[in-house]
Subunit: 378 residues, 4 copies
C-alpha cells in the first residue's frame, strides 16, 4: 500500500489546476511508493478557494497561507502564486519543515533566489521548481541523446519562445488574470516568464552559459492597470533576445516575445552537433526532429520522430504507439519523478539550487539589456 504525501496547494489558477491534475493522475499511471493526497488548498478569496477545493477534491481549504504552512497534516507546500510571493512563502515553508515545490521562475531575482536556496538547504527539506518542459518525452529524449554523445561536440544552441497574446494595446495589465504584465508582481516580462523555460532547458542540455549580450523592448508603452484603474507605464519587457556563449564553446541565440503574430506558445530549441542535430517545438510537443550525419547519404534527412513508443521516455506509462499525450502530462511526469526521488532519498531536479542558475542568467540578460553590453556570468 502506498504512503500518502499530503499536499498543501497555495493558489488556484492555471498552475494550481495543472498541478492538481497531476497529483490525481500520477497513481493511475505510475507505480510509486508515495501517493499524493490533496489535503488542503489556499487563497485569500474564500469563495474562490472553496469552489476550487470542491472541484478538485481537496479535503480542506485555508485563506491564509501562513495557516496552511503551520498545519501538521501538510507534508509539501506547492507554491502557485505570482512571482513576488515566492520568496516569503518558500522560506516560511522551509522553516516550518515542509517540502517546497515552487512554480518557476524561482524568484524575482538572484538575491531572492539565494535566500530561498539557503532556506531549503538549511532546513534540509526536499525542494523542486516546476520547470515542467524537462519532462516532455521528446525533451527528455534530447537529454538522453546528448548524454550518450550522439551529437558529438556541440557548436550551436538556439531557442525561442514566441507568443502573440499581448499585441492589442487595449489589453490591460495587472490583477489576477494579467499579473504577468505587471512588473511588480512578475519581476520581468518575457525574460522571467518565457526565457526562463528556454534557459532552464539549455543549461540542462548544454551546460553553463558564461556570458550574455541582450536587448529588450517594450512595444506598448502604457496600459490601463486592472488594480488602480489608471493608465500606467508598462515596465516589463515585451520582447527579449540575447546572444551567449556556453562553457563548452558553443554559441547560443535566444529570443522571446509576446508580439510574434501567429505563434501561441512556440517554444522551440535546436542543437547542432558535430555528428547530429536535434530540434523540438512545443506546438507539436510529441515529436522530435533528429538529423544524423552518419546515415547513408542517399537517404539522409531530418527525421520526424513521433515520440510515443514504450521505449521512449515516460511513454511506456501511457497508451500505445502513435497515440499522443499533451501538455498536462509534463506535470504528471514531474510529480512521478519527485515521488520516486523522495522514496530513494534523492533530490529531484531542478532543485532550488539548480533553478538559481537560470535566475542568474535571467538577471545577467536584463542587466546586459539595460547596460547595452556583454555581461559575464560568474
Amino acid at each position: 500500500m502506498s504512503k500518502p504525501l499530503n499536499i498543501g496547494m497555495i493558489g488556484y489558477g492555471f498552475m494550481g489546476r495543472a498541478h492538481s491534475n497531476a497529483y490525481l493522475k500520477v497513481p493511475h499511471f505510475f507505480d510509486l511508493e508515495y501517493r499524493p493526497v490533496l489535503k488542503a488548498c489556499c487563497a485569500r478569496s474564500e469563495d474562490k478557494i472553496k469552489e476550487f477545493a470542491a472541484k478538485w477534491g481537496y479535503e480542506s481549504y485555508e485563506t491564509d497561507w501562513r495557516r496552511l504552512i503551520k498545519r501538521d497534516d501538510i507534508d509539501a507546500v506547492d507554491i502557485c502564486v505570482p512571482n513576488n510571493l515566492h520568496r516569503e512563502i518558500a522560506i516560511a515553508a522551509a522553516e516550518a519543515g515542509k517540502m517546497v515545490l515552487c512554480e518557476k521562475p524561482l524568484a524575482m531575482d538572484t538575491a531572492q533566489g539565494e535566500e530561498m536556496v539557503q532556506a531549503v538547504e538549511e532546513a534540509g527539506v526536499a525542494n523542486m521548481v516546476w520547470y515542467n518542459y524537462r519532462r516532455v518525452p521528446a525533451v527528455t529524449l534530447s537529454k538522453q541523446l546528448l548524454d550518450e554523445g550522439r551529437l558529438g561536440r556541440v557548436f550551436h544552441y538556439r531557442a525561442q519562445f514566441l507568443q502573440d497574446w499581448t499585441i492589442s494595446a487595449d489589453l490591460p495589465q495587472g490583477g489576477t488574470a494579467l499579473w504577468r504584465l505587471d512588473a511588480k508582481a512578475a519581476g520581468s516580462g518575457v525574460t522571467g516568464d518565457l526565457l526562463a523555460h528556454c534557459i532552464d532547458t539549455a543549461l540542462w542540455l548544454n551546460g553553463p552559459i558564461t556570458s550574455v549580450c541582450a536587448m529588450t523592448e517594450t512595444f506598448v508603452k502604457q496600459r490601463k492597470h486592472q488594480l488602480t484603474g489608471q493608465v500606467e507605464p508598462v515596465q516589463i519587457d515585451d520582447a527579449c533576445a540575447f546572444l551567449c556563449r556556453f562553457a563548452n564553446g558553443s554559441l547560443g541565440l535566444f529570443e522571446s516575445t509576446r508580439y510574434a503574430r501567429g505563434h501561441k506558445a512556440l517554444y522551440t530549441y535546436e542543437v547542432n552537433g558535430e555528428h547530429a542535430s536535434l530540434r523540438w517545438d512545443l506546438h507539436d510537443l510529441h515529436r522530435l526532429q533528429y538529423f544524423d550525419h552518419r546515415d547513408d547519404s542517399l537517404v539522409r534527412g531530418w527525421r520526424s520522430v513521433h515520440v510515443s513508443d514504450s521505449d521512449q521516455p515516460y511513454m511506456g506509462h501511457w497508451w500505445v504507439p502513435g497515440l499522443q499525450i499533451g501538455y498536462e502530462h509534463t506535470f504528471v511526469h514531474q510529480v512521478a519523478d519527485f515521488l520516486d526521488a523522495l522514496a530513494k532519498g534523492q533530490p529531484c531536479e531542478p532543485t532550488f539550487r539548480t533553478a538559481l542558475e537560470t535566475q542568474k542568467v535571467c538577471d545577467a540578460v536584463l542587466q546586459s539589456a539595460r547596460e547595452g553590453s556583454w555581461v559575464s556570468i560568474g
Copy 2:
C-alpha cells in the same frame, strides 16, 4: 452538488484504463449535473481485477459480469471486452435496466448489432458506442465547418488508418493481448478495428454510403495461436481497401492496414468541397488542415490550424492557446457529452442505432471483398 452516476466497468485493458481515466477527470474540467462514480469493475481473473480496482479506485470488483449487471448500485455498464462478448453483455445489461456504454465496433456483425439496438431501445436505456475520435476537437470542428456549409458541395472523401505493428511473422495471434488478430474474438481484422473508426467519422461528416467495392488481404497466412499453442491459419483481414459512393454524390476511398511500415496509427481523412477542403491526421490530432478557395489568391494555401483556442470545440475546458491535449481527452469529452445528454434527457451520439450503420458498411465491405463485386447498402 452533482448527482452520482455509478459505473460498472467490464474489462481492465487498454480501453478499461482509457475510460476510467475519463470518468475521473471529467468533473475537474467540466461543470456537469452528473458525476461518474467508479462503483465496480469486473473481470474473470480476480488477481487482475483486484489490482485494477486498487489502481483506479473502484470501490469494489466482481469476477462475473452477470453479477455486476444485477447489482442495484450500478447505473451504467461499460463494456470494454473483446467484440465477441459485446452482444450478450449489452443485451443482458439493457434487460437489467442499465445504461450501456459499449466499446466499438458495436458487434461482430449487423445481425448481432440489430439485436443489441432492439434490446436497448426496448429497455429504453441510455446507450452509446465509444467511437471516440468524433470528440477530437479538430474532428468536431470539421463537423461544425461542414454543417455550416463552408465546403459547399462535397466531391471527395478519403480516409485511411495505417499501422505497422503486425508485420513480423513471429507475432502470435489470440489471447488477452492479441485477441484483435483472432477472428473468433474480433470478428474481422482491420475492417472492424480500424476502418470502423473511419466509417463512423465519414457517416457523421458526409452522410450515408450507398455502395462499396472492397478488397482484403491477409499477408501472413498462419501464426501461432496464444491459446492453443498451435500454428493456425490467420482468418482476419490484414488489410482492406474500398471504393464507395455517398448518398450526396461524392466519391469515397478508404484504406486500412497493419502493414504500412512507418505508421503507428495514422488515421487521416480529407474532404474536398466546392469551396474548401479539410484534412486531419491522428498523429497530430491537435491540428486541422484547412484550405479555403475564397481566400485572396496571392496568399491562398493550406492552413495548419493549431486547435487549442478557447473558441474551438472543447478547448475552453483545458489550458491556454498553444498547449495541446492528447488522445485520452477524446474519452473525457465523450463522457462529458454523455453526462450532459443524460441531464437533458437526450441521446448521446453515436447511439447503438447510429453505430449499427457503421456495422452495415463493414459487413458490406467484407461481403464485397469476398464476392469481388460492388455491394449496395440498403
Copy 3:
C-alpha cells in the same frame, strides 16, 4: 565535338515549350556525344508557329506535319499535340525512318498503341514516351532504393494525382487550350491525363498490375464547347479511383481528380515495404520521405530527404547541395538519357512498348468503371 541530332517539333503548347527548353539546356549541364539542334517546328497556324520558332530559335518551321516528317534534315520527331493525333503522326514518322518522341499518354487506347509499337519496332527507330516524372531525382532515387531491396517485400502501393482547376461549371471544354476536357481529343479525362503518370511510375517501381476495379465520375455533366459554341455533354471522367493487385502480391490504391479543392498538381505516391517505406509528392518534388524500420527505435522517424546532393540521381549536374531544381529539369534529364542511350545504341525507357503497358491498365480501368466489376490484365 558533339554530333547534332536534328529535332522536328510538332506542337507549340505547354509541352512544346517544356521540351524545347530541355533540348537547349541539356548540353550545358551534361557531357554527351549528341547535341540536340532545333531544326524545325510545326503547327497549322503559321502565325503561331512562326512566333514560336523565333522565340525558341528553331531554324525553320512548317505548317503541315507531313512535310516536316519528309524532311531529310530531321532526325527525330517530337509529338506534342493532343492525344487523338499521336497515332497517325507516330506511325508516319516511323515509316519515314525518324526517331519518335511522343508525349504521354501513348495513344487514345491500347489498339492504337499496339499499332504504334508495331510501327516503331518494324522501322527499327529509337522511340520514347515523355513520362517525365521518372526523372524527378527523388523518383529515380525511389527506383534505386527499391531495386537495392531496401524496402524488402512490398505490401502497399498508393498514388494520387489531385487537381482542382475544373471545379467551376463555367469553364468551357475543347479547343486549343482546353482539349483535355474534350473526349474526342483526349480519349479520356483524368485517367489518361493524370492516372497515366501514376500508373507509369507504379509499373516501373513496383512491377505489373494484374487486376483492377475502378469507379469514375463526371461531376459537371455539360459544358459549352469552345469549337461548336454549343453546350454539350461532358464525356470525360472528372475523377477516377481504382483498387488493384500487383503481380508481386502487393495491393494498390489509385485516385485522380480535378475536383480536389486546394490541390494544384498533387501527384503523390507511397510504397510500404517490410523494412522501409517511401513517399513522394510533386508539390515538393525535390524531397523524398523515407522511413527505415532498421533505424535505432529511439530516433526512428520519417526522414525528409532534400534530394540535392551530388551523389543523388542527376543532382551532380546542377548546383550545390541545398539548392533545388524544379519541374522543367525532368525533361532535361529525359533528353540527356535519350541522347546517352542513343550513343550506346540502347533503348531509352519508357519506350513505346513499355508505355503500352500503362495504356493497357488505363483501358482496363475505364472498362472496369463502365462495367462495375474487376477486370484482369492479360
Copy 4:
C-alpha cells in the same frame, strides 16, 4: 526584333554557370526589348575558359580581364570572381564605359564599396549586384505584401543562413574551389558570404538597420591552405550572429554558420507584424508561409502558399499551377528585370549604391564582434 546586349563574363565557376544559364533562358520566357548575347568570357586559365566557352556557347574568350573590358563589342561586364577582385575590375569596367553586373557581396569592405559606387555613378553606367534571392517569387511576394501594409507595424525580423559543409577539420582552405574559406580572397567568412544575403533581403523588406551587436566564432582554428600547402590559421568567421534594431522600431536577430549539422543551405526569414506574419525558407523556396490574424479565428493558421500561380510574382512566365521552379530561376528573373529596366532607362535594384548599405551592415557586424559592443550604423 530584340536588341542584342553583349555580355562579357569574367569567371567560369558556380556563378559563371548560373548567370550564363540565365542569359540564355531569359528570351524564351520573357518578352523583352533586349536580348543577352554571350559575346566573350574570361579567365586566366586558357584551358578552362576555352572549355567553358564551348560548353555555354560564348562566341570568344579572353585570358586577361583587362583585354575583355577594352573590347568594343562588349556592353556589359559580369564579375563572377572572388571578392578581392571585385573592386579593381568593376572600376576599370565602369571607366571603360561598360555596364557592370557584380556578384555579391559588392566588395571586401565599405571603403572599397564606396569607390565602386563612385566609379559607376561617375561613369553613368548601369550597374547591379547579384543578390538573387530578391527574385525568388515567394520573396518578391513578401515584399509586395509588406508594401501593401498587410502586416501592419512590424515588431520582429529574424533571419538565418545555416550550412554544414565545413565541419570536417580535414577540409582545406583557399584555392579555386575553397576561396570562400580564405580571408584574403573572401574578406570574411559567413558574414560576407551568407549574412550578406540575409541583410540585403532584410533592408529591402524591412528598411534600414540602425545598430548591431554581434559575436563571431572560428571553430576550426587552422586548416591546410590549398595554395601554400601549409597548415595556416583560419581567419574567417565560421559562424556569426547578431542582434539589431531597425529604423522602424522592430527588433532583428540574424545568424549564420557553416556548422549547423543537417542544413545544407537553410536560408530562412520571418517577419512578425501587428496583423500578419510571413516566413520563407530556401530549402522549399517555392513556398511562402503566411499567417493572417484577421482570418476567422476558428480556422486561423499558418498557410503554406505554393507560389506557382500565374498571378504570383514571375510565375506567369513559367509552367502551370503546382509545378515548381528552382534556384536557377532567380537569376533569370534578375536578368529579365535588368533588361527591362535598361529598356526603360531606369536603375535595376539592387544597384551598387543599394548594395553598399549591406556592406556597411556587414562591416558594423564584424566590428561589433571584434569590439564586443554595440555599433551604430550612420
